[in-house]
């Protein structure tokens, strides 16, 4: 018994005490966990039209009225939409909706053009197909995906060319930055390629005032 014990003790001596090292590791890990940010923030790309007046005028009036929706972002997270060209003397053309899936997204998806076509629904379906294909086929590169996505957004589906919606986003001064980002987000979700952030002009102001929107 005594002999056995002695040999055991000798074996134990070859062990190195790791506790201080582990302590230090713990400290370092805590330090890194607290002082660093793991994920890089997300971002969305936004291209604003140039302030150059001459350029802006040329691009206007290019789309059909039934393919246009104007969004008015107002204070207190309110959002209104006008289908087609706003009738500036008729406040009833402003329709109130809400943010999120049941409100604005629903409006965009179910918007019918004069031909009775729902562009967003079809484009979104094509995008879903593309996404599914990408999930299956890992070899699809980002550039291929983006090229196809922008084709879809332009209305060039495999079944042929379809009309696309044009969204004009007009944010009032009382709206918050979050409203703007939410609106841009809906454009992304609904795969709308043509949208523009425009200033609220005097005509819009007249319409909004008539409807009592702040």
């Amino acid at each position: 018994m005594a002999k056995k014990k002695a040999s055991r003790q000798k074996k134990a001596e070859t062990r190195v005490d790791f506790t201080p090292m582990v302590d230090m590791m713990m400290l370092l890990i805590t330090f890194f966990m607290l002082c660093t940010s793991l994920s890089k923030p997300q971002s969305m790309q936004l291209t604003m039209p140039s302030n150059d007046k001459n350029v802006a005028e040329q691009d206007r009036g290019a789309t059909k009225a039934s393919q246009t929706i104007t969004l008015y972002l107002a204070g207190n997270d309110a959002v209104y939409h006008v289908d087609g060209i706003p009738e500036y003397d008729n406040p009833a053309c402003l329709k109130k909706t809400t943010w999120g899936a049941d409100g604005l997204r629903d409006v965009l998806i179910n918007h019918k053009t004069e031909e009775g076509y729902t562009p967003v629904k079809n484009i979104k379906a094509s995008k879903a197909l593309l996404d599914a294909e990408r999930a299956k086929d890992k070899s699809m590169t980002d550039s291929v995906y983006n090229a196809r996505l922008s084709k879809i957004k332009n209305g060039e589906l495999e079944t042929g060319k379809v009309p696309v919606l044009t969204i004009i986003i007009k944010a009032m001064d009382t709206a918050s930055y979050k409203n703007l980002v939410d609106a841009l987000d809906e454009m992304q979700i609904c795969a709308i390629g043509k949208y523009v952030i425009d200033q609220v002009n005097d005509d819009d102001m007249r319409l909004l005032n008539a409807a009592g929107i702040k």
Partner: protein
């Protein structure tokens, strides 16, 4: 008695697997993480489904807090000095002592009117953030010309930092659109039309 002694020898716990894991974790954190920048203001970015990452280099970050105060930051501190010198070339009466320049260069983001700069930069580095929190860069046009904000952006663009400068806007969700509009329109006047809006990730259903 003898049994108890044997048990005592067993108390030694083998730390090797634990330290193995620790080393792995440490390496992981060291390699994947970037240090949190000490930004002048805390900004709650709105959520979006967009998954585009913010570019890593040559980014001019514009911070807008919820009251609409504007701060600027460069991702490479080395260029702060060059930008400051550019601004000093354009604005008269901005003479800073070497100590003040050093304080300025060390800032992760800055936002103060030019008239207050020498006053604020006199303080300790830790106090500067507290002071400039209440200031921000003015966007009012000076005598119908460029605003201070535009002068700074222009200075960043004209430094060796700005050959391929990208603009990232990090604004608080509660910022009034009025401020953002004003700022964007000033940028548009300088023909800077492409921005990255920094957002946090959100699921599509929300």
């Amino acid at each position: 008695m003898g049994k108890v002694k044997i048990k005592k020898a067993d108390v030694w716990i083998d730390m090797t697997p634990m330290s193995d894991v620790m080393v792995l974790l440490l390496t992981f954190f060291m390699l994947t993480s970037t240090f949190v920048k000490n930004e002048a203001v805390k900004v709650n970015t709105p959520g979006s489904v967009s998954e585009i990452k913010v570019p890593e280099t040559e980014v001019l970050q514009i911070l807008v807090d919820k009251e609409g105060k504007i701060f600027l930051g460069l991702d490479k501190p080395g260029y702060m000095k060059e930008m400051l010198e550019n601004v000093q070339g354009q604005v008269t009466g901005l003479d800073l002592a070497p100590m003040q320049v050093k304080n300025f260069v060390a800032l992760a983001s800055f936002g103060m009117p030019v008239s207050e700069m020498s006053n604020v930069l006199k303080h300790e580095a830790s106090d500067i953030n507290e002071l400039q929190k209440k200031m921000g860069i003015p966007t009012d046009s000076i005598n119908g010309g460029m605003s201070e904000f535009q002068i700074w952006v222009d200075a960043a663009r004209n430094s060796s930092f700005g050959s391929d400068m990208k603009i990232a806007i990090k604004a608080d969700a509660a910022t009034p659109y009025k401020v953002v509009k004003k700022m964007m329109s000033e940028l548009q006047d300088m023909s800077e039309n492409r921005y990255y809006l920094i957002t946090s990730l959100k699921k599509e259903g929300e």
